[in-house]
Amino acid sequence: MLEFHDVTKRYGNGKPAVNNLNLTIEKGEFVCFIGPSGCGKTTTMKMVNRLIDVTEGAILVDGKNIKEQDPVELRRSIGYVIQQIGLMPHMTIRENIVLVGTLLKWRKEKKDERARELIKLVNLPEEYLDKYPHELSGGQQQRIGVLRALAANPPLILMDEPFGALDPITRDALQEEFKKLQRELNKTIVFVTHDMDEALKLGDRIVIMKDGEIVQVDTPEEILRNPANEFVEEFLGKDRLIQGRPDVTTVGQIMNSTPITVKIGTTLKAAITKMRDERVDSLLITDSDNVLRGFLDIESINNNYKKASTVEEVMETDIYSVSQDSLLRDAIHKILRRGAQYVPIVDEGHRLVGIVTRATLATLVYDTIWGDGTEFEEIVAHAE
């Protein structure tokens, strides 16, 4: 899909910014470039769509040398997202999303349809299409920035620290959304970042660069287990290396697989009885296929007991859940950051498979400290 052959970039006669770089990126791969500032990661990315010209060597996109293509055509065929978002302030969201379509002279109906189709991908209402960028929050703006890159359905997307300027919670949400989107759409992504957590979380492979050269190219797990040299170790930081092992533990392995649930259609009275019997103050609600639909806590029952008779009338549908394949480290981080008491665990079909509560985490910590031949060690052993 994307190949770098002996690529060198030199400014003037000085030291090369990128030196003799060789790399092959497969279709559908999510590759993170990371390194200290000035290591040449952004230069490398910008050479792909010819924002910067290659001094020596060749870059091939789908087997074709980019030097032999018209730079304008090339840029229209490659998505591009930048940290500063760069939405056109005088254009509506609709016009912004289909900007490349406008450049490619699409018909108006085609642009309209494409804009509506895309905005659904990021769960924003269609009314937003007629708004202007300054009326949206930073996170929403960057969602639009990503959609703009997707508009002409390019197989390859370049991203230059796209989530770097967002607050941590928005960044988390966007990273997850985007990773999901990338899997669904099977895009090849070149993603430049200086945030190691981001690279470890998103990348299928991580390219660590220093002084214009590649230091290590590997999967996140491999990099954590076998850092190539001291520089990589230092760059990862001691914390992450220590966490390297539990990092591969998934929530699926530690969750409690028998959460207290009720089916949709249960009466409130039955739900209360269940709460009392099981000694819990909230219930997860699933439908007949075991798909997670919402939750119910004692307070909402209290407030609505007289008005409603079944659980779906009172339940809270805006429920935060975690996939069973996600890494334990991320999940813990999220539970703590959101201040949640528990988080339901779901599979790919959003079916409920378990629950992680603060008590689960406390047990985990306890077991780690006292190391009592407990399940945690089994998990680590299992993971290895």
Binding site: P89, V100, L103, Y132
Partner: protein, 220 residues
């Protein structure tokens, strides 16, 4: 009171004449600014793109601005003779600085990240100019035209000295007549009014061209 009565009397008797001069005056100012805009807007864009030229061009514009209008007009008259053309050329010279300067500032103020995003999305240089830079700079450029037009209306009043007519000629008649205060006022008040109205209208257009809109106003 006497002056006021005389003014009313002059205006009623010469209403048509004042109107003709008013119109002529306005056309001179408008043409001057128009021709200046044709030269200055591209020049402003050019110096915004090629930074090295900017200090030279802006300095030249400032120098022109320091020459007294009457003196400049007299010199141009030597070359171009009497009449409206001399006034229009003078006005043009005086409009160059505000228009070039505002075009330059407007273009420079366009967010670099927006330009990068547009360029990386596959816009050609010309598309970038037409779809991004000009729409975002247009209200600042309009502010330059507004300044130029208001200055122009003032300078056009001197045009009477080179036989170009306009409201200046009414003022001139007043200064030559014995007890001509009323006639001077009949020329000066419309000149001032024209400048104020031009300023208001151009200000309105400038606001209409504000690139960053709200969704509500666009729905209306």
């Amino acid at each position: 009171m006497n002056t006021l009565e005389q003014l009313v009397q002059y205006v009623t008797q010469n209403g048509g004449y004042i109107w003709v001069q008013f119109y002529r005056h306005f056309l001179m100012a408008a043409y001057g600014v128009l021709f200046a805009a044709i030269i200055s807007i591209p020049l402003g864009i050019l110096i915004a793109k090629y930074g090295k030229l900017s200090s030279w061009v802006l300095a030249l514009g400032s120098i022109i601005q320091t020459i007294p209008a009457l003196g400049a007009m007299a010199v141009i008259m030597i070359v171009m003779g009497l009449g409206t053309n001399t006034v229009i050329v003078t006005l043009m010279l005086y409009s160059i600085l505000p228009i070039v300067q505002n075009t330059y500032v407007g273009m420079k103020d366009v967010d670099k990240t927006v330009i990068e995003a547009g360029f990386a999305s596959g816009m050609t240089r010309f598309q970038l100019l037409r779809m991004v830079e000009l729409p975002l700079a247009i209200s600042v450029i309009m502010a330059g035209l507004r300044t130029a037009l208001v200055i122009g209306i003032g300078i056009a009043a001197i045009g009477a000295f080179v036989g170009a007519g306009g409201l200046g000629s009414i003022i001139l008649t007043g200064t030559n007549a014995t007890d001509g205060t009323a006639i001077i006022l009949a020329g000066a008040i419309p000149t001032a009014l024209m400048a104020i109205i031009a300023d208001l209208i151009m200000g309105w257009i400038e606001r209409k061209l504000q690139p960053i809109k709200s969704s509500k106003s666009s729905a209306a």
